[in-house]
């Protein structure tokens, strides 16, 4: 049975008919063609499908689309602003934090949620925050460094605005 779903995705209003059993992940990838969000297990084990729902990181493979009615979803496609990449994206690209790039969208989203709530997290906090996102390529260290570098850039930008 199809249901009507009205919500916001990457700050754009979305109004679609989707199968009632579908997860947020499936609606994003299959109905909205936002394939930046990945799947690695579809059981909530790997973190590849993380998106922000009303600012909080959520495993989209475990979230029913019907439950996001009226809410605001952010995916990796929504991280760039005004045609400019988010500092997390710039730092991940520059510092080798993305190898195959498959876990990257989920990690970027999780890292953004962290920096939104804790602007200058310690290495330990970053490691804790990302512990639900598996990466098989990097060994995580370049990811930690990229998050730290992005945090520093964001702090500098805040400083400059003051």
């Amino acid at each position: 049975v199809k249901i009507r779903l009205a919500c916001s995705v990457n700050d754009e209003a979305v109004d679609v008919l989707v199968e009632d059993y579908k997860t947020v992940l499936e609606v994003l990838r299959e109905d909205l063609h936002l394939t930046g969000t990945k799947h690695g297990c579809e059981l909530g084990e790997c973190g590849a499908c993380a998106v922000l729902i009303d600012g909080s990181p959520v495993l989209s493979c475990l979230a029913l689309a019907a439950e996001s009615e009226g809410r605001s979803i952010t995916t990796v496609e929504g991280l760039a602003e005004d045609g400019r990449l988010h500092p997390l994206q710039e730092c991940f690209a520059d510092l080798g934090a993305a190898q195959c790039g498959y876990c990257t969208p989920g990690i970027l989203i999780t890292a953004k949620a962290l920096l939104d709530s804790e602007p200058r997290p310690s290495r330990e906090r970053i490691s804790e925050a990302l512990s639900g996102n598996l990466c098989r390529c990097t060994g995580y260290l370049q990811i930690f460094e990229a998050v730290e570098a992005a945090a520093a850039q964001l702090a500098d930008a805040r400083e400059a605005r003051r």
């Binding site: 063609h33 990449l85 195959c100 498959y102 970053i126 996102n133 598996l134 098989r136």
Partner: protein, 825 residues
């Protein structure tokens, strides 16, 4: 003439970095096409059974089902190695493991396909199931396959280089140790996916998450009995491979067949459980090292036996078997050597190549045994190894050619950095430090299908915009091969990497590169790219030199300009240079190729192990072991890798750290283990935990600090002197952890993974006055074939076996072989 490089050696953002951080990299499952259908496979629930009947009627009646396929549709076998074409896309007479595909449903969506697949009725007649190599060795019947050496032995090989028994008998000490390395799997984040379609002119196109589009191309041509020229394979960027996407897979052939029959695009994406059953990962290996050693700590001879649990199909297994015995000698000076390896079939998912392919298991045994040797001789393990390193520019006992070898420098570096001499055997109980070394191929010296063709080809197109497009069959699996390709072209032509567009992994558009396996891409593709780029540079130089009246040897290509080195202001832009050359010569396109040097080995089996050059690694691992629980934590790792030249140090560091990470996973927790379902169910042999939650792998919280040192002495065989880095740095980690655990608590765990439970068992054994060891007790008696006898180079050998009939050279064959491999059934 050496000149400053402007791209090579400088840490850079990879050329595909932006695509990856914006989610725009298009993986196979991200592709959709109009009218696309979806495929699900029905897999065997029996580990070993004859298929009596497959009834698909109920599935075909379901609304939305377009096609149901069974083994009848796939009469032709295929496989990665020419000696083991033992797979059919869907099983025909029998199934060989739980997960073997029996039928396929193609429907309007995945849910419909899945529902229909489960309406298919398969009647099985169960056969005896072989769960372990011991089972398979003890019972030749029923055979899992009707080919192989005998019974359920897939392949048993024996090679002897000099009188090893005499060498061991004359040694001051003999060490005889048995080790076991449990299997583990790649666990790429991306699940395997493929989309096949018929293009408008009727040809087949397959997009797939494959590391080896060329071999998939050959397998499709053979299995579908189609001309290879009518098939296009596009390797989509892989979301991690690690060897797990190197075989041609049944699901790829099934969707190709379905797309041809239906004339509609057909997609399949495996679920995570299916990925575990696809496997092709690390072989479980039991091994026995009998080593003769002088009182000064030199090896006199090594007698190695390995027993590999191959699982249900051949895969790369014959090569894996040889690899368990190939690379011991390129690391250490071993004057006499015997290797005997045996791979058996069992009713489990097939094993194949995982990062390090066949060598990590025996590297573990060798490096732990060296630790025991040092302990017995009262020597420092670093000093012991420094005293036995294989000489540079030499042939080994088994005819592998060692070129540059930076192993001594690697060892000294990690010893210095880690404070080894003040820590080893001096830390308090529970804290330990361990050392191990390794080496790895920079590309296999022989192709999978033996022929005289290049292993890598590169084409360059230069156009009037100043843009350069580089075409190569190499496959981007996350390691950064596109970046290496582009960087080399940019370096030679003096332009920016972002001025170059890479087209890779597409059998229609790109010349063949054999694929992303055996750490071959940087060296082989890189050398081909240099050749193509230098040819283009020469054309441009000839035209520009004539125009500017400057001798070509004075022209410099740098900063997007071509100019006179003596009068740098005298020059043209790169774009002008291209136009000048095009005006003079016509369209500017060049090619480059790479073929490895011929091997010195001329005996059967000598095809596995040769490489243009070898990388070397040394690692020191620090551990904390809780003596009450056996729990192991790893606070720090120091690693030094002899890479020759780091083309992009950012990517190189990622490969080293990623290898350490994966090595720690193998050392401490990862197991591809199986169990029997209870008899009241089916008694089937199933994966213990085919999920990412329960198949334990390290998380961000488990990562130690890693201190990486790169040893850079350019190797003449590599592009700008580069050797491999994708696999070698993984290899020393597992033995270094084992050696560190011994240093910490004085017990030997001669078995991987080294879990707390095993440490605790060893500690309890010691407390009870028993040997402080956990590991296999013995190596079974195996009916080995008579070894091929090859005298080492220093005993007058010429690389041939004295007891082998003269072999016709297979290396004179031409393109015909590949074509024949494609059509032979």
């Amino acid at each position: 003439l050496t000149r400053r490089t402007r791209v090579v050696g400088i840490p850079r953002r990879r050329v595909d970095g932006r695509a990856k951080v914006t989610g725009q990299t298009r993986f196979a499952d991200d592709l959709t096409f109009p009218r696309m259908l979806h495929c699900r496979l029905l897999r065997s629930t029996q580990p070993h059974a004859r298929i009596v009947r497959v009834d698909t009627a109920a599935a075909q009646e379901i609304d939305g089902v377009h096609l149901v396929l069974t083994g009848d549709a796939f009469p032709i076998s295929y496989g990665i190695l020419p000696v083991s074409h033992d797979e059919h896309a869907l099983c025909r007479e029998k199934v060989r493991f739980v997960g073997d595909p029996v039928a396929a449903v193609i429907a309007r969506d995945e849910a419909t396909a899945d529902l229909a697949a489960h309406r298919i009725v398969v009647e099985y007649e169960p056969l005896r199931t072989f769960a372990t190599p011991a089972d398979s060795l003890a019972h030749p019947e029923p055979r899992i396959h009707d080919y192989g050496d005998h019974g359920n032995v897939h392949r048993a090989v024996a090679l002897q280089f000099g009188d090893v028994d005499e060498a061991i008998a004359n040694a001051d000490h003999v060490f005889d140790d048995v080790f076991f390395f449990e299997g583990n799997t790649h666990l790429p984040l991306e699940q395997h996916a493929s989309v096949a379609l018929k293009d408008p002119d009727g040809k087949l196109v397959v997009y797939s998450s494959t590391q080896t589009p060329h071999y998939l191309h050959l397998a499709l041509a053979k299995a579908l009995a189609m001309p290879a020229a009518h098939i296009r394979v596009v390797a989509t960027p892989n979301g991690g491979g690690f060897g797990g996407k190197s075989d041609p897979f049944n699901h790829e052939i099934v969707v190709a067949k379905a797309a041809l029959l239906l004339d509609r695009p057909v997609k399949i994406c495996l679920n995570r459980e299916e990925v575990f059953y696809c496997h092709r990962g690390r072989h479980p290996v039991l091994m026995r090292f009998r080593t003769g050693v002088t009182k000064e700590g030199r090896i006199t001879g090594l007698d190695l036996q390995t027993l590999l649990d191959g699982g249900a199909y051949g895969s790369y297994g014959v090569a894996s078997t040889f690899y368990t015995g190939a690379l011991q000698t390129v690391t250490y000076d071993i004057p006499r050597y015997r290797f005997r390896g045996c791979r058996v079939f069992t009713n489990k998912p097939p094993c194949g190549p995982k990062r390090g392919h066949g060598t990590p298991q025996s590297r573990f045994g060798q490096e732990v045994q060296l630790d025991k040797i040092a302990e017995r001789l009262g020597m420092d393990p670093a000093e012991l190894r420094l005293g036995m390193i294989a000489p540079a520019d030499s042939l080994t006992a088994n005819y592998l050619r060692v070129g540059t070898i930076g192993l001594a420098e690697c060892i000294r570096r990690v010893v210095d950095r880690s404070g080894w001499t003040t820590k080893f055997r001096q830390r308090p109980t529970g804290r330990g430090i361990g050392l191990a070394c390794s080496s790895y191929l920079s590309g296999a010296g022989l192709p999978i299908n033996w022929n005289d063709l290049p292993h890598s080809g590169v084409q360059l197109k230069l156009d009037r915009s100043g843009g350069v497009t580089v075409f190569c069959g190499a496959t981007e699996i996350g390691q950064g091969s596109d970046d290496v390709l582009v960087a080399i072209v940019a370096e030679v032509l003096g332009i920016d990497p972002f001025d170059v567009r890479a087209v890779t992994g597409d059998t229609d558009l790109t010349p063949v590169d054999l694929g992303s396996y055996s750490s071959r891409v940087t060296l082989m593709m890189g050398n081909a790219a240099i050749q193509a780029a230098e040819r283009a540079r020469d054309r441009l130089a000839a035209a520009v030199g004539a125009r500017l009246q400057v001798p070509v040897d004075r022209l410099v290509f740098a900063d997007r300009r071509v100019f006179d080195s003596e009068h740098p202001e005298k020059g043209v832009t790169f774009q002008e240079a291209v136009c000048i050359a095009e005006a003079q010569f016509g369209t500017i396109g060049t090619t480059g190729s790479y073929t490895p040097p011929k091997s010195a080995a001329r005996f059967k089996g000598g095809g596995v192990g040769p490489s243009p050059t070898y990388s070397y690694t040394a690692a020191v691992v620090e551990v904390d072991v809780d003596p009450d629980t056996g729990w192991i934590t790893v606070p720090r790792v120091w690693i030094a890798h002899d890479i020759g030249c780091a083309l992009n140090p950012t990517l190189v560091r990622g490969q080293v750290e990623g290898s350490v990470y994966m090595g720690l996973g193998e050392a401490l927790m990862e197991e591809q283990a199986f169990r029997r379902l209870p008899a009241r169910l089916s008694h089937a042999l199933v994966h213990k935990f085919p999920s990412m939650l329960e198949y334990k792998s390290p998380t961000s919280l488990d990562m130690p600090d890693i201190v990486t040192d790169l040893i850079e002495h350019p190797d003449p065989a590599g592009p700008f002197g580069a050797k491999e880095v994708g696999q070698g740095p993984l290899l020393p980690i597992m033995p270094a952890v084992a050696n560190a655990v011994f240093d910490a608590v004085g017990v030997r765990v001669d078995q991987v993974p080294i879990t707390p439970e095993k440490v605790l068992r060893a500690l309890q054994a010691r407390a009870a006055g028993k040997p402080a060891r956990v590991g296999p007790a013995e190596f079974p008696a195996i009916a080995w074939p008579e070894p091929l006898l090859v005298a080492p180079p220093w005993e007058g050998g010429d690389g041939r076996a004295s007891n082998e009939p003269q072999r016709a050279s297979k290396r004179t064959v031409d393109a015909g072989v590949e074509a024949k491999a494609a059509v032979r059934s």
